[in-house]
Symmetry: C2
């Protein structure tokens, strides 16, 4: 069988599995999730063994230490997978929820009911635990999933998939509800992206290169996350102590992630008071600052920022700083350079808080809180399969509900249209 | 300027206009909509004059009477446009609505706020009143729109656009919020469909050919409606009088539309009782029946149905009829031949009503009501810009809310992530 035929078969199997999953009840899905957790626990040795094969090849291929770290399945990583499965099993099932219902003048009761999307294509790099996370969220939301992980993790992913498959089978659910593409060939991704008959949504997760490749080659709708150029705007009315804590947290607590602050915007009226102590604290934490001209007048020993700095997602201990004359200038700056990801305002002014919330065009907008809260778990979605910075279907972190859609249900008693 | 440059410029203008529209308040948008209605009323002669140019060309090109009918702007058509504008002005503004809000254990208040999508590309055929309908719904939901109508309606559409533009300008809104592509070149559509930087969503409306062309050539997400192969299943427990009224309405009241019934599924237990009088009524209304083998045993003088009939969207006074042994067989038939559009069950059985609602995978599922209610206005959405039979973003009729997305808004008081 050619690779293309193999991928097409997987699509057909997934579509069939999705028909059974659509009507699977919550208990059945949760039983499967808990059984997955049990089987991962009892088959730790086999998992580690397959992972060792991937690690050996990765070392031979001279992959970076960081990549090998991400690829390694330790006992703690397996514990994490087990915990994630149990957490997803404990989340409410979105399928069948009626989100609203209303009555029409002719007596028809009209409601919207959550239903699964169908089949999801999930394309990702590195970390094999993502295989388990993505599979569990798709299953709980009633969707079949085709997983295409990084080629460096193939042995690990196939092992994990065979365990998940066994749990599905033992729970009376279709074993093809979760499938891993058994190939390292990049052509496999291209074939997947053409199958708009059997896949309803594609979610890529990984570097910008992977995501652009998927977006440019897909005939299937893609929910994607390009970059997080996140801003914090410190207003003239801000509680400066609070502003300092939030800015420090947003930049330093975990600089390598998409919801870390990349640019700090400071109202000029409090810039002389706010910036010097903030700078001291950043300097002590090893943060390099790059400032606009006005900032350089206050912080004389930092690097000047270029236009490129305002576009930059550093993912590192580097921060661009700009002094603005007012909130409008801050919002304009965000509009021009932002990535629709996460923005925060620190303010004690009621009107400005409301205006910033309403006018800033990002997936998460916060008042007096750290940008680091843009995360499905932190916002109360339970878990997340990714963050979408395009606006269709779901904007921002995607949890279980975002893996569903709604259909209209109508209760009548003989109504006809006249 | 080349056509491509022209289309790109329109995209840039639309993106800029969308930034102002995003924060326009309800009153401003409603004022613009009412002014559009007034201007259409006061400039009737100019509209009819431009329409006459299109009609002359249409006659020279030997377009069908039906097409010329659809193209014609009569006084009544203008009245309809005016009324539609006033109705949209009277609808609630979805932008800024907070659809839900919850509190996190750390005190963060997290909500979801409706925001516009940005820029919509609307590609359609024939009827010039669609220009006004689509523009009004996009404007009210805070979106800029680029309209590409059929080439046969270009003069009419450009005239209407110039009136809408004037109303926008006089209301202090960006005049480029509504733009009509001033070209009959099909290449223009191709250029539009490549501009994923400046257009957020494409909605095609028209024949299957147009929709497939758009879906296959677009880099931008497309919400589309292929066909409506709608089913009514008459259960053994149905009130047969009610079933007859609903089936007659679903087939005969307006057979040429997507939510008319195309296949009737009848439980075998009541088929001998239900079908003969139903057939009489259909025959008197000029409906041709095509039946399965079991149906032919009861209705001896009708045409046998072929496999193709179960796939068919007749859009005409033709109906396929199949007798099923039980509801499961009806649901399986719908799964196999349906188009995820509209299905109805006629039943007095509580459990079957609930199961049919839950298990049928269509955008609108009704109990004891006509399929003809799959319509934004009829379901209470106010108005509709189209019906989406794919599942992403919005499934089924799309009103104002479906032209928005939600962002997360977060009220904190100093929360940081630990």
């Amino acid at each position: 069988m050619s690779l293309q035929e193999l991928i097409r078969d997987m699509g057909r199997e997934a579509r069939n599995a999705s028909k059974a999953l659509r009507i699977a009840d919550t208990k059945q899905k949760d039983t499967a999730l808990r059984l997955m957790a049990e089987l991962l626990d009892s088959r730790r040795k086999e998992i580690v063994l397959e992972n060792t094969k991937d690690l050996d090849q990765a070392r031979k291929a001279n992959l970076s230490t960081a990549m090998i770290d991400r690829l390694t399945i330790t006992e703690a990583v397996i514990d994490g997978m087990i915990q994630a499965l149990q957490e997803v099993a404990a989340l409410p099932d979105p399928v069948g929820q009626v989100t609203s219902m209303w009555k029409r003048p002719n007596g028809l009761m009209v409601g919207r009911m959550r239903i699964p999307l169908g089949v999801i294509g999930f394309i990702y790099e590195s970390r094999p635990n993502v295989t388990v996370d993505a599979a569990s969220l798709c299953l709980k939301s009633g969707n079949a999933v085709i997983l295409k992980g990084g080629s460096e993790a193939l042995n690990s992913n196939l092992m994990l998939a065979s365990i998940l498959e066994q749990a599905l089978q033992n729970s009376g659910l279709p074993s093809k509800a979760v499938q891993v593409v058994p190939s390292t060939d990049r052509e496999a991704v291209k074939f997947l992206l053409q199958m708009d008959d059997s896949i309803d949504l594609v979610i890529p997760r990984g570097g910008e290169g992977l995501i652009r490749f998927v977006a440019e080659n897909s005939r299937i709708p893609v929910l994607r996350h390009y970059k997080g150029v996140c801003h914090v705007y410190v207003d003239e009315s801000a509680d400066l102590g609070m502003a300092q804590e939030i800015c420090f947290n947003a930049k330093v607590q975990r600089p390598g992630v998409c919801n870390a602050m990349e640019t700090l915007l400071v109202h000029q009226a409090i810039s002389r008071q706010f910036l010097p102590p903030m700078y001291e604290r950043f300097k002590n934490a090893g943060v390099e600052l790059r400032g606009c001209e006005k900032t350089l007048e206050i912080l004389k020993d930092i690097v000047p920022a270029t236009d490129q700095d305002w576009h930059e997602e550093y993912l590192d201990l580097i921060l661009a700083v700009k002094i603005v004359s007012n909130m409008e200038e801050a919002i304009d700056h965000i509009d021009r350079y932002g990535s629709n990801h996460t923005e925060a305002i620190i303010t004690s002014d009621y009107q400005r808080a409301q205006r910033f919330l309403a006018e800033t065009d990002s997936s998460v907008v916060l008042v007096n809180a750290s940008t680091r809260f843009n995360d499905g778990g932190q916002l109360g979605l339970g878990s997340e399969i990714g963050i979408n910075t395009s606006k269709l279907h779901a904007f921002g972190p995607m949890g279980l509900e975002e893996l569903t859609t709604t259909k209209f249900i109508v209760f009548g008693n003989g109504q006809i249209r006249t």
